[in-house]
Amino acid sequence: MLEVKGLRKVYQAGGREVEALRDLTFTVDRGELVCLVGPSGCGKTTLLRCVAGLLDPSGGEVEVDGKAVDGPPPGMAVVFQEYGRSLFPWMTVKANVELPLKQKKVPKPRRAELVEQSLDAVGLTGNADAYPWQLSGGMQQRVAIARAVAYEPRTLLMDEPFAAVDAQTRADLEDLVRSLWKRLDVTILFVTHDIDESVYLGQRVVMLSSSPTVVQDELTIDLPAERDQLTTRADPRFAELRTKVYQQIQLAKKGA
């Protein structure tokens, strides 16, 4: 379980003071898949960093499984928005994916298997020995995803993980995330700008207001658990839900 209580974050640097998050409270249950949407610059990345224990909040608290977060909790994987910079340029794609597994002390044969499977899953078979800077933007992002997938995390934080891939790949990756989630019972917090995506993926969508940021609204996605790119998106309920989200976001922007 993941609880965010009254979270507040103020950036102070060189005279500039930005209140990125004013007061955020929400909960993600164990094994839930929650999507987070909100205007650009509203503080989604900041929130994710706080949840991951990478950033100290200025106020409020984050709890994972009942314990206050004061450093990255075990079994957590993060896909950063700056995917390019989060890959290590001195390692091949394979080594990048494998390294966290080594740290987790996964035995070697299993490691090889996980790396291969996850690179396969993101469509990068054959690029295992390339360096990240030899890849296109979308491919780099997929390496970052493969790394998180191979890690088999208990908690997965993803910050606009499909921003750089084409529509078709995106659809495939969406399904990948859902299947991973079902298979491993991962708790997922998923930041996206794509409203359809948030509805398609999530069990719940949390909408943030624009800065100073609070939770604008939450919406439970009551679509069937078995989702499918064609039928689910064609479902009239899907259209209804996406319109609701869209309206809330419009409101959020106007409120600014």
């Binding site: 990255p72 957590m76 950063f80 989060s86 890959l87 340029p89 966290p100 080594k102 890690y151």
Partner: protein, 256 residues
């Protein structure tokens, strides 16, 4: 650019230098008694190369150089990584480092002789003292250069402190380390020779001192040329290993 172009260009550069040294005394720009033309220096060099004493001296100098550099580089890298990755340690040592760095090795000669006599020991002490700081400072700057996103990636996957150093800090600092070692390599050579020159422990420096005191001007320049050439060779080796170990880095990959 083909593979051999750089070699040819480098040779052309050195040939140009030779030409200048040949012409400057011949045209009367400098008195050839004090700076003999290159041809005479080279002739003296050939004569030196014929004597076993020269090779023994060269060997002595190289041993002092290599030992001193190895110790200084090892200690510098280690200290740099440790101090650089623990902020409190860095704050604590900063003033002491800045105090010790500018103390010239030459001023420590009596102390070195007192402790180690005029053999290899005192030369080594002076070499290590001078070269250590070069590596240390570079590593400190290198460690500070780590990309925050890369570092956060490592943290979020809960890399052990050792793994953070090994997989993130070290590769980031590596280009700096290379520069540091290149700087230290020549400082070590300079100090090895200076120490031999002043203390009189066996080596090229002593040979230079003897040549100076003996009014053997071409021989003295011949020995200086040898030290210079050593520098060139050392640099070639450094550049070579840089291509091997920094192939992923912008500075190297940008040139392919």
């Amino acid at each position: 650019m083909t593979r051999f172009r750089p070699v040819l260009l480098g040779a052309a550069g050195l040939a140009g230098l030779l030409l200048v040294i040949e012409l400057a005394p011949r045209t009367g720009l400098v008195d050839e008694r004090f700076l003999p033309p290159a041809s005479r220096i080279l002739a003296a060099l050939a004569r030196e190369a014929g004597s076993p004493a020269f090779w023994a001296a060269l060997g002595d100098t190289l041993v002092a150089w290599a030992l001193g550099l190895a110790v200084a580089a090892g200690a510098g890298v280690l200290a740099g990584l440790v101090i650089g990755s623990v902020p409190a340690l860095r704050a604590l040592t900063a003033s002491t480092v800045e105090f010790l760095r500018p103390i010239p090795s030459v001023a420590l000669i009596p102390l070195a002789v007192l402790l180690y006599g005029t053999g290899l020991g005192s030369t080594l002490m002076l070499v290590c003292y001078a070269a250590f700081w070069q590596v240390l400072v570079q590593v400190l700057y290198g460690v500070a250069d780590v990309d925050p996103v890369a570092f956060e990636t490592a943290r979020s996957f809960r890399f052990s402190p050792w793994a953070r150093v090994r997989y993130v800090l070290w590769p980031t600092a590596l280009p700096y380390v290379f520069t540091g070692v290149r700087l230290a390599a020549s400082v070590a050579l300079v100090l090895a020779i200076t120490a031999e020159l002043v203390i009189g422990s066996p080596g090229l420096g002593k040979e230079i001192a003897v040549a100076q005191a003996s009014e053997a001007v071409p021989a003295m320049y011949a020995l200086i040329v040898v030290t210079g050439l050593l520098g060139v060779v050392i640099n070639v080796a450094a550049r070579f290993s840089e291509r091997r170990f920094l192939a992923w880095h912008q500075s190297v990959r940008g040139e392919i």
